[in-house]
């Protein structure tokens, strides 16, 4: 039997040379006439070790990393196929502390299986949740998801079961499941990883959502910045259709469900659910006023579930192992696990799925191992470009929707971006406004105009023009944007700005004359 060598096809690994490595490995194996098969798996999410190569040996899988194409010959000579020793040898991947400390429910298969092998998917517990769901009445599925405590992982944290119940009870001939895969927040890549590394789990989650709400059609709105994920998802949908997971008779049952992958066109605001629906319908991605809720009048005015990728990808495990199993993880009203994405200036960046309740400090100092530059941590932005900057004094904040809200922050899509002490928080505040100005859909004035005025105010502070008055003005502007904007883009831009201003006021004071003169 040929040995399996795993080289991730995940775009993060590819960005670090995985394609070149795989090509080189194939050549080297052929030249030596060695019997081995290269599998392009997803990433385990340990990006400082990517490309991380794994080999299936008699004693289980062993890992090597980070492997460069130029390491291939020495690896093979060291006995790669038998798990031989080498300076890049890491041992059993699941024993690496970064993985050992995790609780992988949603990402259980990611990095382990061949993403496009249904056989692998089934062998690792896939489709058990859907098999259970097809035998249940919709109300029972909705009840199980509600009892699990699952809340929207896109950032809003709305209970998934309640959303589904609303759609189930809504009148309508045609209902839809729309998956929000417009993962535009900087510091987040969990959606990308699951779509590239375990696409069937998202498909399974969408089919379950369809059965639970009597929706028969699904769309994944996937951002154009993710070409790898688009390719994998399209292929996975074809495979699922051919295998009878999608189609007129889901797994041979009376339920029908089919889905399509739709590609965005580079507009951050389309991550907002109503702008996403507009875009999906073929219009400008302009935010809709709510009500009506998408659950009542969504895609094409019909009842629609819109869920984030991770919310939907967490459903199969809930339907497989039960609501209690999932709910028993977590703290307070934040139940289950959250895939935290550790990014930016960190030694150990990657995906860390754990039960809610870990503190920010544990994640930054212990798991991430501090900064990549070795300098002290100054600020951590949690929750993407609309999330607050947290100083070290708030590192005891546990990962929990309510705990972050209590500190004037948000978990968002659970990306954390670490900055070292060279960060200039006035610059970061200015960027938040600038980003909002670039990406504003233009519908409401506080966001459209406020963002541009915010950039100007930041520039005046930088130039030393009445800085105290400008700070007052900036605070007032943030207040208007927060309470007067139609959606989270304008409404949450004040989070990064005000947190920078509150926690790092020294960066907002005029520079001494000597520097200002430069």
């Amino acid at each position: 039997m040929s040995v399996k060598i795993y080289i991730p096809g995940d775009s993060g690994a590819v960005a670090l040379g995985a394609d070149r490595l795989a090509m080189r490995m194939a050549e080297a194996l052929k030249a030596r006439d060695l019997d081995a098969e290269i599998v392009r798996n997803g990433s385990r999410g340990l990006y400082w070790l990517e490309p991380m190569v794994e080999v299936e040996t008699g004693k289980g899988r062993v890992a090597y990393g980070p492997v460069k194409a130029s390491d291939v010959d020495s690896l093979i000579e060291a006995g790669l196929l038998e798990g031989g020793d080498h300076p890049l040898f890491l041992g059993a991947p699941q024993e690496l502390p970064f993985l050992k400390r995790q609780t992988r429910l949603t990402f259980a298969r990611c990095g382990i299986t061949d993403p496009l092998s249904l056989e692998d998917y089934r062998d690792h517990g896939g489709l058990t949740g859907l098999s259970n769901a097809v035998a249940m009445v919709p109300e029972a599925i909705v009840a199980q998801v509600t009892e699990s405590g699952l809340r929207g992982r896109g950032g809003a944290g709305f209970p998934t079961g309640i959303k589904w119940k609303t759609v189930l009870e809504a009148e309508g001939e045609q209902k839809y499941i729309v998956c929000n895969a417009d993962e535009g927040d900087s510091g987040t890549f969990a959606d990308r990883m699951i779509m590239e590394g375990d696409p069937f789990v998202l498909i399974e989650g969408m089919v379950i959502a369809g059965i639970a709400t009597r929706a028969t059609k699904g769309y994944v709105y996937l951002r154009s910045e993710y070409p790898h994920a688009i390719r994998v998802m399209n292929r996975a949908v074809e495979i699922a259709r051919a295998a009878g997971i999608l189609g007129n008779s889901v797994l041979g049952s009376d339920h029908a469900f089919d889905m399509e992958i739709r590609v965005g066109a580079g507009a951050y605001v389309c991550g907002e659910e109503t702008a996403l629906l507009e875009s999906l319908e073929g219009r400008r991605g302009v935010v809709r006023a709510k009500p009506p809720l998408p659950a009542h009048k969504g895609f094409l005015g019909r009842p629609t579930v819109i869920n984030n990728v991770i919310s939907l990808a967490s459903v199969p495990v809930i339907m497989d192992k039960g609501a209690d199993f999932y709910r028993d993880f977590g703290m307070g009203r934040s139940r289950g696990t959250i895939p935290v994405q550790i990014a930016g200036n960190v030694k150990h960046g990657g995906l860390f799925e754990a039960a809610f309740g870990m503190t920010l400090g544990e994640l930054v100092d212990e798991i991430a191992g501090g900064t990549a530059t070795g300098r002290p941590v100054k600020a951590v932005q949690v929750g993407g470009p609309l999330g607050a900057y947290f100083p070290r004094e708030l590192f005891d904040t546990p990962f929990d929707y309510e705990a972050f809200a209590a500190k004037d922050g948000l978990i968002g899509h659970a990306g954390i971006v670490v900055f070292d002490d060279t960060a200039d928080m006035l610059k970061q505040a200015r960027f938040a406004f600038e980003f909002c100005a670039v990406e504003s859909c233009g519908k409401c004035t506080p966001c459209r105009i406020g963002s541009t005025r915010g950039v100007e105010v930041a520039d005046k502070i930088r130039a030393g023009v009445e800085p105290e008055n400008q700070v007052t003005l900036m605070t007032d502007l943030c207040n208007t944007m927060k309470f007067g904007s139609l959606c989270a883009l304008g409404g949450f831009t004040p989070y990064p700005v005000m947190s920078a201003l509150t926690h790092f006021p020294e960066d907002f004071r005029p520079a001494p004359m000597s520097q200002a003169a430069e």
Binding site: S11, L16, D185, F189, A267, G344
Partner: protein
Amino acid sequence: MESRSADTEIALRTEAIVGRLKPLEGPLLPILHDIQREFGYVPQASLPVIASGLNLSRAEVHGVVSFYHDYREAPAGRHVIKLCRAEACQSMGGDELAERLLGLLGLDWHETGANGKVTIEPVYCLGLCACAPAAMVDGEVIGRLDAEMVDHLAKAVQA
């Protein structure tokens, strides 16, 4: 004469795309993506054809095309560099690298230069935040970009 026949050619090819994708629910974005794939940009001559095919006004189609960052009004350079400008890349010195690259190419964001050889565009997150700074060059992703790689890249795209 020549430009009219070019427009007719564009209209014909657009018509084929519209005809094929029209049955979709919400067909406009898929149509525009295919048109951009076909021509490398969204030609003005396509707009009336799309409008009449979908029973929209030309202004509505223009409104959609101009809303999204992805759609181009003119063909891009032979090489397209998308450099991430978002926070995770900033935290790893992305701003300095961006300035360096723009300087080496003598271009500002969204510009095409070196005799049409290269277009440089900002992108707000490629999802490669754990291996920042990141870029995408002609569809290929690159992580942990540094000054040396930027210098090499600038030379390669202008060659």
